[in-house]
């Protein structure tokens, strides 16, 4: 073999290395990170620039702090200065009721979490099946393709609340033998129906975003259509769609609160019960805050994953 050995022998290039650097094999001591040991002394020009940048950074921080303070003060004055504030504070921010509602709401929240886990798993599986059904070729699969397309069109258009009412209230009204009337199960079914349609579209977009040359390469190796989809297209599609999928999961998490319309005692319903008795709305605020607290970690996680993937792409990765 006459192929040069020097670059194939170069092992363990550091993570910041991009494709272009990978080509020049010789004389690379130290990476972009860490101080190279070559007796370099920063020039006056560099020191002056860094001084200037530090001053500007300090000024920016000061401006941000001041502006936050002013905004906060204005908001406070607007809310507290509102003519109905004393009354609103009583009905929405009553410490007594908050204390009473919190444990009940937390108890109800456990139902929301379980719904999220079960529905989330069901949605991923169903969404994937629908997405794959839509990409099947060949005349045999026409009914399946049409069905999948009709499904996504219908459930993406149908407001979730109406879907819930139809399933949770309509199905028991049919008095079918052997079909559950449990509002939790029915509510979960309705959530799954709607979210599967959303997630199917996310997966389908992912499948279509994989460049046709990847499929061509797979087929040229003798993989059949199914194998190409399974080993080459889907893994790349799913990886790319992780951020939008997590986004839909966050959305599903808060929408589990809607099963309360069927009477299932989740966090929202638990608050509702206290409100109905006391005519004080503080429990709703508590339930709302609890949901926000639950979604924040998930949202942060989504952001983190997205940022990480963007970074990889920027480095010349082909995710």
């Amino acid at each position: 073999m006459t192929v040069t050995e020097d670059e194939s022998g170069r092992e363990g290039a550091d993570a910041e290395d991009n494709l272009d650097d990978a080509d020049d094999a010789d004389g690379r001591s130290g990476g972009a990170e860490g101080a190279p040991d070559d007796g370099y002394v920063p020039s006056q020009r560099r020191l002056e620039r860094e001084r200037y940048r530090r001053t500007r950074a300090r000024r920016a921080t000061a401006i941000a702090a001041l502006s936050t303070l002013v905004t906060g003060a204005v908001l406070y004055l607007v809310v507290v200065g509102a003519p109905g504030w004393p009354r609103a504070r009583e009905t929405f921010f009553d410490e007594q009721y908050a204390r009473e509602a919190f444990p009940k709401v937390l108890e109800g929240l456990w139902l929301n979490v379980r719904l999220l886990l079960v529905c989330g798993a069901a949605v991923l599986v169903l969404g994937m099946l629908i997405a794959v059904a839509r990409t099947l070729r060949g005349p045999v699969f026409f009914p399946l393709r049409a069905l999948a397309a009709a499904y996504t069109d219908f459930f993406r258009g149908l407001p979730l609340i109406i879907n819930l009412m139809i399933v949770v209230l309509g199905v028991p009204a049919l008095r079918l033998q052997g079909v559950t009337v449990d509002p939790v199960l029915l509510g979960g079914t309705a959530l799954t129906l709607t979210y599967s349609a959303y997630v199917a579209e996310v997966f389908r977009a992912g499948i279509e975003s994989v460049h046709p040359s990847q499929r061509a390469a797979a087929r040229s190796l003798g993989l059949n259509n199914r194998q190409a989809l399974r080993h080459v297209v889907l893994p790349q599609a799913v990886r790319r769609q992780v951020p939008p999928l997590l986004n839909d999961l966050v959305s599903l998490q808060k929408d589990t609160g809607l099963v309360s319309i069927g009477g299932a005692i989740d966090a929202v319903r638990a608050a509702d019960i206290i409100v109905g008795r006391s005519l004080n709305y503080t429990p709703y605020i508590v339930a709302g805050l609890v949901f926000v607290a639950l979604t924040i970690p998930m949202t942060r996680f989504t952001d983190w994953v997205t940022a990480r993937m963007d970074r990889q792409r920027a480095q010349g990765g082909t995710t």
Binding site: M1, T2, L19, A22, D23, S220, V232
Partner: protein
């Protein structure tokens, strides 16, 4: 690719080998009157081609002359409109032919490498042997390791493609195509996307494959290389094989005016 069969006019009914006994061996690949259109434009017009075993055929011509399309048709990545293609005497353009089985016998290397970015080098190479040919993992990996070693890629098995240089990626793509022990290798402008200093390492691999007796068809802009390795050179122009012959004939004494003009432009660009 669409699975819907392309509209076809009746193909010639004479796939019988025309070689009398004692004549040169039957061609690995044979194309007859192949026609391919995309929408309104005719990309290949009445193309005939014969590739004898253990020979290298170079397709040259300007961009858009139909070189890549010809290769894609030979691998059934594109349906042809008319004509017929035979692989080892079997008509592969017959709609009843098993297309996946045909592709298993033909290796393809693409201009843009087309490695699978979510798989390591080793996984890229062993995917088809394991999933398509049912070879045990250990055996597939051993074979992959030997090929990597031969192509100067030892130690790269665990890397992901985007950590490699273009030349390395293209060599991995060649290993991937070789791993299924193809009968025929199609190389589609495999150096066109490479930095000039990386072209050599890939061309060296092709030289070695020729020495091993691999049957190859390559579309290329590297005229010097085509002249050196090709047993047969075809000059494509406007979807037609305008001129063909040995490298010596075609580069040394081109008969057609258009061929001469094309080669002159190449020389002026310093590529020959």
């Amino acid at each position: 690719m669409s699975d819907a069969p392309a509209p076809r006019t009746p193909a010639p009914q004479t796939p019988a080998p025309r070689t009398p006994s004692g004549a040169p061996p039957a061609p690995v690949l044979r194309m007859e009157s192949v026609r391919k259109t995309f929408g309104g434009s005719v990309v290949l017009r009445d193309v005939d081609l014969e590739v004898a075993p253990h020979t290298v055929t170079a397709l040259i011509g300007a961009s858009g002359s139909g070189k890549s399309t010809l290769l894609r048709c030979a691998n059934l990545l594109e349906d042809i409109d008319d004509g017929a293609i035979w692989l080892d005497g079997e008509e592969i353009t017959d709609p009843r032919a098993d297309q996946d089985a045909v592709r298993r016998r033909i290796g393809v290397v693409f201009q843009a490498y087309n490695l699978f970015p979510h798989m390591t080098v080793l996984e890229n190479i062993t995917l088809a042997p394991r999933r398509v040919h049912g070879i045990a993992r250990a055996q597939a990996e051993k074979h992959a390791g030997e090929l990597l070693e031969r192509l100067g890629l030892a130690g790269k098995a665990g890397e992901y493609p985007d950590r490699l240089s273009g030349g390395q990626q293209q060599r991995v793509a060649i290993v991937r195509a070789l791993a299924v022990r193809p009968r025929l290798l199609l190389l589609d402008e495999i150096t066109a996307a490479l930095d000039p200093e990386l072209v050599g390492e890939v061309l060296n691999v092709v030289r070695d494959l020729k020495a091993d007796g691999m049957t190859m068809v390559l579309a290329t802009h590297e005229m010097g290389f085509a002249r050196e390795v090709a047993d047969q050179v075809c000059f494509l122009d406007g979807g037609v094989v305008l001129e063909r012959g040995t490298a010596e004939q075609l580069f040394g004494d081109p008969q057609q005016d258009r061929t001469r003009r094309f080669l002159r432009r190449i020389v002026e660009a310093g590529r020959l």
